[in-house]
């Protein structure tokens, strides 16, 4: 059981809004082993970012964790926030989507990196700065000594994301959660950042949770994929299985709607409709209204069941749902 770094069981997160309670996560379970790279894929609003925030203890009013638990090496993370401090930020760290706003604009880059080193590793200020310089060159920033004294607004977006990553790996964490780390960046920079992540995974032996809506970047980097839809995981599996033989109609749709360079004459599908509102989610399969293969039998609760090498939450798992649509 303790072979997993992180285990999430049946996590539920609700948001209280004036319109009612929004069920953002509806029983999410997943786990990640040391050194593993897991991609969480889904549309915006599917709950992937909320999952990451729940792990990092960043769910704020109006949100709240209303059920389930998060275990770090077998110990609950949510139970005692104070006790979690030397896990969060040291062993589990996170890189956010928008590097423009994720850094404190009024602190030098150096101070922001040193801070975490001083806090978790008890380094002196001098030692922390030295380490920060190393980190900056490790993430590929040239002239690190000079950069230390600069403010975020003096750096480019890609540079800032590198700083975020440097901060993320400062204490040699076991798990790095990257929440859409490249979405806000130019395409060329995106590739560099992904490359950096891949490199770091090798050099440090880091486990990574990569959250993205872009299947394209998953294939090269990840070992395993979890697909989220409407606050639930609808399919998990190895990256190979997911791409080669997706079992859930939604996963199939996702892959079929992404252009792939190596397949000729492929017709792209588009998934019509929008995800269901989570104020009052359907009790049955949430994908039903958009699913080309759905029928009356789908109108019952779906849970993640082993299917092939992975797991799928669909009573029609495995059928080629989009055959008709193409």
């Amino acid at each position: 059981m303790n072979s997993f770094l992180l285990q999430i069981n049946n996590l539920e997160v609700n948001f209280d809004t004036r319109a009612g309670t929004v069920q953002a996560l509806r029983g999410v379970s997943l786990s990640i082993a040391p050194g593993e790279t897991l991609a969480i894929v889904g549309e915006s609003g599917s709950g992937k970012s909320v999952t990451a925030q729940a792990i990092m203890g960043l769910i704020d009013v109006p949100g709240r964790i209303s059920g389930g638990d998060i275990l770090w090496e077998g110990q609950p993370l949510t139970a005692a926030k104070v006790g979690a401090r030397h896990i969060l930020g040291k062993e589990v760290t996170m890189v956010f989507q928008n590097p423009m706003t994720s850094l404190n604009p009024l602190m030098t880059v150096g101070a922001q990196i040193s801070e975490v080193i001083e806090l978790h590793l008890g380094f002196s200020r001098q030692a922390a700065r030295k380490r920060a310089v190393e980190l900056l060159s490790l993430v590929g920033i040239s002239g690190p000594e000079r950069r230390l004294n600069q403010y975020p607004h003096e750096l480019s977006g890609g540079m800032r994301q590198r700083v975020m990553i440097a901060m993320g790996i400062a204490c040699e964490p076991k798990l790095l959660i990257a929440d859409e780390p490249t979405t806000a960046l130019d395409v060329t920079i995106q590739a560099q950042i992904l490359e950096l992540l891949a490199e770091l995974r090798e050099t440090i032996g880091l486990a990574i949770i990569l959250i993205t809506h872009d299947l394209g970047i998953v294939a090269g980097l990840c070992d395993r994929v979890a697909v989220m839809y409407a606050g639930q995981i609808v399919e998990t599996g190895s990256v190979y299985d997911i791409f080669e033989s997706p079992s859930h109609p939604y996963t199939q749709g996702l892959i079929r709607s992404t252009p792939q360079l190596d397949v000729k004459d492929e017709r792209l599908v588009s998934i019509s409709g929008t995800p269901p509102g989570l104020l009052d989610p359907p009790s049955g399969c949430a994908f039903l209204p958009r699913c080309p293969a759905g029928d009356g039998g789908c109108d019952k609760p779906q849970s993640l069941k082993a299917f092939g090498a992975g797991a799928v939450a669909c009573c029609k798992a495995g059928i080629d749902a989009w055959k008709e649509a193409v």
Binding site: Q53, G57, T101
Partner: protein, 306 residues
């Protein structure tokens, strides 16, 4: 930096010029300074002599030039009430006003930051609601009223503090307290709102994800980030206090500052003294503005000084 200061100083000169023009219009064109300033027993000859002395017999443009010239040399004429240069009276009373403002606004600044921050930690919580209620009440109470009630309670009933005047440290407590209440309320609510705003920012999530505790985030990260808006609001408050509230508070507590002097000058028709006060305060406001801009730059490197 130097260029900035020069530019701001030039702006300051414009402000002082604007104030001069206004004061000139108000005093020379809207009313009759001679009948205001001379005792009514003055004879016609005295009136004419006085009008000549302050240059009223010259054309308006010449009067204005002379008026400007006097201002440049800080020569506002003799106070009619005190019979010595008006500017001397101003410089004599100015430190008292500064002392009162320093004590009043200083305590407001020092108290408001922790209060606002604590309230922001849990918006809607007990502390927050308490702070907000007191803050709203503080904003709603006229200072002259607070002052009277404070005298009634602390000086007359409890006899803890003196009622009026200046001298010992005890003398400053009640006026400073009265002066501080409105700014304290305003600062606290501002700190709270800015803090809530700031705590919702992405970089705070980053900081939390780094494993920093809230106290440290408040202290190291957000506090500095609200400092710029805080500086500007406290500068604004300093200016409004300097040019407003002190008059009321000094009157209520007989605190011998510029505000009380201004009221006395008006009651005695001492236009020269009043002009000197208005100008010195306008100049102070300009200086405060420049200092604030430089301070803001020191806190927030993103601010361009221009």
């Amino acid at each position: 930096m130097l260029q900035f200061i020069l530019r701001r100083l030039f702006q300051g000169v414009l402000v002082v010029f604007g104030v001069s023009a206004t004061v000139f219009v108000v005093t020379r064109l809207a009313g009759d300074p001679v009948s205001l300033m001379l005792p009514l027993s003055a004879t016609e000859a005295q009136r004419i002599a006085f009008a000549q002395q302050i240059g009223l017999d010259q054309p308006i443009a010449a009067q204005f030039m002379r008026f400007l010239g006097d201002i440049v040399t800080l020569d506002f004429g003799n106070s009619l009430w005190q019979r010595r240069p008006a500017i001397d009276v101003v410089f004599e009373r100015l430190p008292n006003t500064m002392l009162l403002i320093a004590a009043g606004l200083g305590s407001a600044v020092i108290l408001s930051i922790p209060l606002g921050a604590i309230a922001a930690l849990r918006p809607g919580g007990l502390v927050d609601r308490l702070t907000m209620s007191i803050g709203l009440l503080g904003l709603a109470m006229p200072q002259f009223w607070i002052g009277l009630i404070a005298i009634l309670i602390f000086a007359v009933q409890l006899k803890w503090l003196p009622t009026s005047g200046m001298g010992t440290v005890a003398h400053i407590v009640l006026p400073a307290l009265t002066l501080s209440l409105t700014p304290l309320a305003r600062f606290t609510m501002m700190v709270r709102a800015a803090m809530i705003d700031e705590l919702n920012k992405q970089y705070v999530k980053t900081a939390r994800a780094k494993g920093l505790g809230l106290p440290r985030i408040l202290r190291v990260h957000t506090l500095r980030n609200i400092l710029v808006p805080f500086l500007s609001i406290s500068g604004w408050e300093l200016i409004s206090t300097l040019s407003g509230y002190t008059v009321v508070v000094e009157t209520v507590f007989a605190w011998p500052g510029l505000g009380l002097t201004a009221v006395q000058a008006i009651q005695r028709g001492d236009l020269f003294l009043m002009q000197a006060i208005v100008f010195v305060i306008a100049i102070l406001i300009v200086i405060i503005g420049i200092v604030l801009d430089i301070l803001s730059k020191a806190v927030d490197p993103r601010i361009e000084l221009n």
